[in-house]
Symmetry: C2
Subunit: 351 residues, 2 copies
């Protein structure tokens, strides 16, 4: 009888935030790659490009001129997927042809006036300003909208069409699929175990250590036990915090610190500006502000696509789309790799 | 008061097979695209490449030599994500660190001896042979495994590392996430409405016509009301059929015919060999063969990534990964475009 070894033997792992399973087949890393090779991310971005609609002082698609901003800069998305005033498609529909009104706002937020920096290359105080703005937006838009999704698509590989450091904020009159699912899972766990799912999880991971990438006294970044993307991470506070606007000034400083450290490791992994999509999940807002949301714990998900190198990503295709997600290295292997990387950014290191 | 127009006004649509919603914001098609441009698919593939491990007579990674096959050809995946004999990770685990044994087989099936053909360019009799082989595999592997996933990743954009026409078949000792969800949804609908979900749906679509792409007396291909990918289609028989191996000889001929017509339209859309991931969903097998599965209806999903042209795809990133899928043209617009395309393949058309 061969004894079980996660690195050698395929197995399933349970994702308690989504009530799904992932197939872990670490031995697949041995297969040679003859498939598509991506263009490596652009490494030489000019600090100011007179034609880039996100730079200070430039003109955007709708004719508006950006101010000469020197910190963060927020504006309405010029091609919003959600607008505040769309008419209702009407109700009384057949169960197989159901539609619903969707209303909301889409904002873009530049992190910095320069196009050639990214979060890990910004000063800690500058990152704190980004976090403060996120908190402000959740406070403001969350006063009416049930869900405020902050997300960053980084790199052309992630569909990002502008190299200038920025994120987006989409607020909606509905609870989208993913947070709705996560809400159900966290609520059920809390009811059954009397403790918020992610608080219990953070404690366990802080003890086990094997999936921890970076930790501080207030924060924890781990490759979750159920990670689907090769170098996926989960970032969360150790204290029970419902929403990003509930973070104290000290916790925001700590967050800026751990984000810079995590993202520096990401960039150092393949010595490129690491592509990813990331976003924040916190307790729902708007009408949910008055409900009991103690089953929630604030957290961010980082979903980076790269698998083997700066140019070979993991394809979530056929089997993943039709059946179930599959990964090619164990979360513990990914965490170890990231953990052992330097916290000095390859671009600013002296050789 | 402006009246609702699906092409102009964002709205949500319900996916009854997954119990999720999609955000439809068709006005987003107006936004200019400055982002990543894909490499168009390779159009000149040699008929026989002595170094391609899928061609007849060539040697594969494990040293085996392919026979001089002249129709379909089936072999074990040389780097399988599922093997028949992996040890059990053990039970009695913490609710946040659950794992399970995963066992199965992964097979590869070549459609044709030539590398320079694809299904729409193959003869109808040749496509029937592919369908017969699919049916045989579901019969054989499904005698013990609860799920047999037939899928095709087509094109480098979809992570396919070999241009030779082929698909994969992964059978597992577990019901993967997607079919498990679809099973629950179809069962609930059947219980509530007394009719299989997809049979009722097919009837409605055949009457409404606006989302139909191709139809024959036995088959229907539609852009589903809840499609997430721009040119996603759903292909299904009109008769109540549980599994692909239940199809009659006549229905298999009809399937070969509608597949060739649908895929010809796909190729004609941007005049390239259209990339996609596709796969079959039918009633579960193995231990489920003796259960009542009358809520199931056999169907195939086609998930093609392209949005605007041969080189600009839809990115399912930030908002989609963290919150909810969003699409940029209505399913009706996509269906109309596909419906109006010629059924003569651009490669064989005389100009
Ligand atoms: O088995 P292949 O073709 O080498 O691999 C491809 O299909 C698999 C199944 O959808 C995916 O897991 C891989 O990411 C993809 O590259
Ligand atoms: O809004 P952007 O950056 O133009 O668009 C990008 O992010 C959106 C939100 O994740 C996606 O829907 C788009 O497919 C992607 O290209």
């Amino acid at each position: 009888e061969v004894s079980f070894d996660a690195k050698e033997h395929q197995h399933l792992r349970y994702n308690p935030l989504r009530d799904t399973w992932v197939l872990v087949s670490a031995h697949r890393m041995k297969r040679p790659w003859a498939g598509q090779v991506e263009k490596p991310p652009e490494e030489h971005v000019p600090r100011h490009d007179p034609h880039n609609p996100l730079c200070p002082g430039n003109t955007r698609a709708n004719g508006e001129i950006n101010p000469d901003y020197d910190s963060t800069f927020l504006f309405e998305n010029d091609f919003p997927a959600l607008q505040p005033d769309a008419p209702d498609p009407g109700s009384g529909q057949h169960p197989l042809f159901q539609s619903r009104a969707a209303r909301g706002v889409c904002k873009v937020m530049c992190f910095h006036p320069w196009s050639d920096v990214t979060l890990p290359l910004m000063k800690k105080e500058e990152v704190v300003k980004v976090i403060d703005k996120w908190a402000e937006l959740v406070e403001e838009l969350g006063s009416t909208y049930p869900w405020v999704q902050i997300f960053e698509n980084k790199g052309a590989m992630m569909g990002c069409s502008n190299p200038h450091p920025h994120c987006q904020v989409w607020a909606s009159n509905f609870l989208p699929n993913e947070p709705a699912l996560s809400d159900r899972c966290q609520r059920a766990f809390h009811q059954k175990h009397g403790e918020p799912l992610l608080l219990q999880y953070a404690k366990q991971e802080a003890e086990k250590k094997e999936r921890v990438v970076v930790e501080t006294s207030d924060w924890l970044a781990v490759v979750p036990y159920w990670a689907t993307w090769p170098y996926q991470t989960l970032l969360l506070p150790r204290r029970h915090v419902l929403r990003i606007n509930d973070l104290t000034a000290e916790e925001r400083e700590g967050l800026a610190d751990i984000m810079r450290r995590l993202l520096t490791k990401y960039d150092n992994l393949f010595e490129i500006s690491f592509p990813y999509s990331m976003g924040w999940h916190g307790a729902p807002t708007g009408p949910h502000l008055t409900e009991d949301n103690s089953h929630w714990q604030l957290h961010a998900h980082y979903y980076p696509p790269l698998l083997r190198s700066a140019t070979v990503k993991k394809f979530m295709v056929g089997y993943e789309m039709l059946a179930q997600e599959q990964r090619d290295l164990t979360p513990e292997q990914a965490a170890e790799k990231l953990r052992n990387l330097s916290e000095e950014h390859y671009k600013t290191r002296d050789n």
